[in-house]
Assembly symmetry: C2
Homo-oligomer: 390 residues x 2
């Protein structure tokens, strides 16, 4: 593990990261009163201020949004799903059409997951061996396999800037030996991914596993850090465990991760989860929640979620949020409700945009607060606001 | 009927229209070799160069498009459906939320139809008397009525710039007496609409009826022109008759319409229909075709329609049209096909944008050609292009 050389002085110049990877992290400042970090992720396709939230563009599209609309929400990096893209249209097709950037029209950085979590959650008849995963496509039942080497090969065809290692995801709760076994297998797979990588313009993030067990999490982190990855993800959380357990697991993991590498909490989460995880030193997030909830007429606001199908919004002339610059907030709540009641596609589109904008503004506010050593206050203020309405 | 004072000299200054209405038309130039007209529609909410195509925003939304995207296609005026809006959310709700402009976020001119055509085509158990239409809502079966006075009252609540008279639409083919009867009733209803109108910032367009019968069309036009409306629509076409019969009906109608009033062909149509109708002196169009076909993976291009689900587009890196500035044309055909094959909402959104952009560019090209007395040539060139591919 690397030396921790954190400083609370955001003004002092900081030497570039010592990372040999194409994707690098520079820590600018850690909040004086908590573990929240302000930094910059540098990639071959531009820089992203951290902490940040990555909108999920499952099959090369953030559902319903023209790519300029995604950029206008404030997103700096988006995520693509390897499993989905490999099944449809196929990595070969994406590659022939110029890779995922040209395909989707997103010229900024892209992170692709490994496909492991989707195999675990979507595929049928999944069988895990030391070699990899065997399973059936959830679309057409085709018999497929995904090994660490295949996952990296697919992600190289997609041409993302950040590839995720294939990891062994297991359902919780589980027995400790099973969790340890999957964690150790994930470490071995991380090394195989590293060995398989060929593209110099793509960096791999490793994934810390170990369930809710602090010792296993520590062991996973230490073994992976020894292998020296461009970044480290915390995986296997937000799968049904109580929030407090997720937060404590983050808390026991981040101290074992190097300060000069980005930390990515996979598949998380609600606004409060992001706020709590940033507090504990996490830099990156992804989740379908803003878009999926948006499609279901639920809008995130500083006063808690607003359910737009409710009758009370029928002739409400107010926007969702007075100070939100998004196109949904140029309309009345009454109009947005009408779109959902009439089954109009524009409802899901506008609410997806609003929710993504909400998440980006939440992270922008976090960055500002960290720079001023006020993150703990920012956290309290946001949590109080969400509890007030809702 | 007014004197025809057309001139082919586009450079000579032309006096303002003598229309007493809030919505006025100024003819700038008639093509030297055909009846195609270049003009300007002036409304309380801005000017629109004619000929133009009006995107259909049925219930206060052009399906799937954020209102800025509608503007970016080049649209100058949009259409709202009175029948749909009256049923859901209700004209009272739209009015409470500031009228259709504030509701939909479109600050330019809006034309609303009368609801008559939708009663004819969508409602159940329709009964027409001299008083008006009685019918059942297609949404919840509620027993409703629509008289000329009610139609205008609803359109005044919606607050559109142009209201359409309620007309008596009948299915074709029909016996001549039935067509004549509906035509004469429509004239009486036009007068009742005129009498009922209260808003000075809203103008009414009358609707010429008379089936495919030249004499009835002439009589309808002459009677309506005598009543002096802000504009004249040609209704009851594009309901299944052969294109040649539609074109000849337009041809026998437009000579009986005043040159200083706009002419609107309702519910039309395919690109070739627009081109043929402009050739015969029509100024305004509306149709769901660009958006409905777009949602069904059909794109309009200068080489004819492209069906994007076809296998041949799978790895095609070309855009739909090289010179099209729309966001769909920043992607490959392969990507657009993928969106439809994966059932992604962005497919319908992007193709709706492309098709609306195509229609607006078609009309912009028409205006340019008319100004140069080259419209007949433009027409030939477009028709030849559509026949070449397809």
């Amino acid at each position: 593990m690397r030396d921790e050389t954190e400083s609370n002085d955001s003004a002092s110049p900081r030497p570039e990261s010592s990372s040999p990877h194409a994707v690098r992290y520079q820590l600018h400042h850690t909040d004086a009163n908590c573990a929240a970090r302000l930094g910059t992720l540098t990639t071959p396709r531009g820089e992203v201020p951290l902490p940040t939230f990555m909108p999920v563009g499952t099959v090369g599209t953030v559902k319903g949004l023209v790519i300029d609309q995604v950029a206008a929400t404030g997103a700096g990096i988006i995520l693509g799903n390897t499993y989905h893209l490999a099944l449809r249209p196929g990595a070969e097709v994406v590659s022939q059409l110029g890779g995922l950037h040209a395909f989707s029209g997103w010229s900024g950085p892209i992170l692709t997951d490994s496909g492991g979590f989707q195999v675990f959650s979507l595929a049928e008849r999944v069988k895990i061996t030391e070699q990899g995963a065997q399973f059936q496509s959830h679309i057409d039942g085709a018999r497929l396999s995904l090994t660490p080497e295949e996952s990296i090969a697919i992600q190289e065809q997609l041409g993302s800037d950040i590839a995720m290692q294939l990891d062994h995801v297991i359902a919780l709760p589980a027995e400790r030996p099973a969790i340890a076994d999957a964690m150790l297998r994930s470490v071995r797979w991380a090394e195989r991914c590293q060995q398989a990588a060929r593209r110099e313009d793509q960096s791999i993030f490793a994934i810390v596993q170990g369930g809710l067990d602090p010792e296993l999490r520590q062991e996973s982190a230490e073994r992976l850090v020894e292998l020296d990855f461009a970044g480290y993800a915390i995986g296997g959380l937000s799968v049904g465990e109580p929030p407090a357990e997720m937060y404590s697991t983050i808390e026991v993991t981040t101290p074992h991760l190097p300060v000069d590498r980005p930390r990515y909490l996979m598949g998380v989460g609600k606004p409060e989860d992001l706020i709590e995880a940033v507090y504990r030193g996490v830099d990156m997030f992804d989740c379908v929640m803003p878009t999926r909830n948006g499609r279901n007429a639920l809008a995130f606001t500083d006063e808690g979620p607003v359910r737009l199908r409710n009758e009370c919004h029928k002739v409400d002339p107010r926007p969702l949020e007075e100070d939100c610059p998004c196109p949904a907030c140029r309309h009345s709540r009454g109009y947005l409700r009408h779109l959902f009641m009439a089954g109009e596609m524009l409802g899901p589109v506008l609410l997806s945009i609003h929710n993504l904008t909400y998440y980006q503004r939440l992270m922008a506010g976090a960055r500002e607060a960290i720079a001023a050593d006020r993150y703990a206050e920012y956290r309290q203020q946001k949590l109080a606001g969400w509890q007030s309405g809702g």
